[in-house]
């Protein structure tokens, strides 16, 4: 065998990904509880909590990027193409909601709308491309 084995690398990445997501949930829970215990929240506490929460998420992202860099093939193409589509749709959603909030009387719109639209677009784009290419 001349190349790193995709299947074993992929299962290793899945294990690391879910560990990182688990760490993210734990850190987020701790951060929320900590912020709620403070009498007055200093200006740096919120951004610090967000940064700490993003550490395991960044690790999950980086290990996925390393996996796709190590292994050429269909998965890399699917990931790049579906992520590009989801990124474009998410940006358009952000701009649209921003304009609606700023120029109309709709009031603040939940950030979950952006997350839902982005994730749904990514999943649908990935499934459709996979069906077409595989």
């Amino acid at each position: 065998m001349t190349s790193p084995n995709f299947e074993s690398d992929f299962s290793g990445w899945k294990r690391r990904f879910w560990l990182a997501i688990g760490a993210y949930v734990v850190i987020l829970t701790v951060a929320i509880r900590w912020l709620n215990t403070l009498e007055t929240v200093p200006f740096w506490a919120g951004p610090l909590a967000v940064l700490v929460c993003l550490l395991p998420a960044g690790y999950a992202l980086a290990s996925g990027a390393i996996l796709t860099e190590r292994h050429d093939g269909l998965e890399r193409s699917l990931l790049h193409r579906s992520t590009s589509i989801a990124f474009f749709v998410t940006m358009v959603t952000c701009v649209t909601l921003g304009l609606m909030e700023g120029l109309t009387r709709t009031g603040p719109i939940s950030a979950w709308v952006i997350y839902t639209v982005g994730m749904l677009t990514w999943v649908v784009a990935h499934k459709r491309l996979a069906t077409r290419l595989a």
Binding site: M1, T2, S3, P4, N5, F6, E7, F10, R70, H71, D72, G73, L74, E75, S77, R132, L133, A134
Partner: protein
Amino acid sequence: MRNDVRTLREARGWTQKELAERLGVSRQTVIAIERERYDPSLPLAFTIAEQLERRIDEIFHPA
């Protein structure tokens, strides 16, 4: 792009899984290439050519 990957692989008696392991890609990638639904990148095409002991233009042909 048309290709002769399946013919050349079968001539060597390799399974799709075996070729995938030699290339360091998933079996789905080999299936997609053989079905001519996915064109491999140039580095992957070179690796395929190396494994199948052919030149790239002997394996891949413009559609």
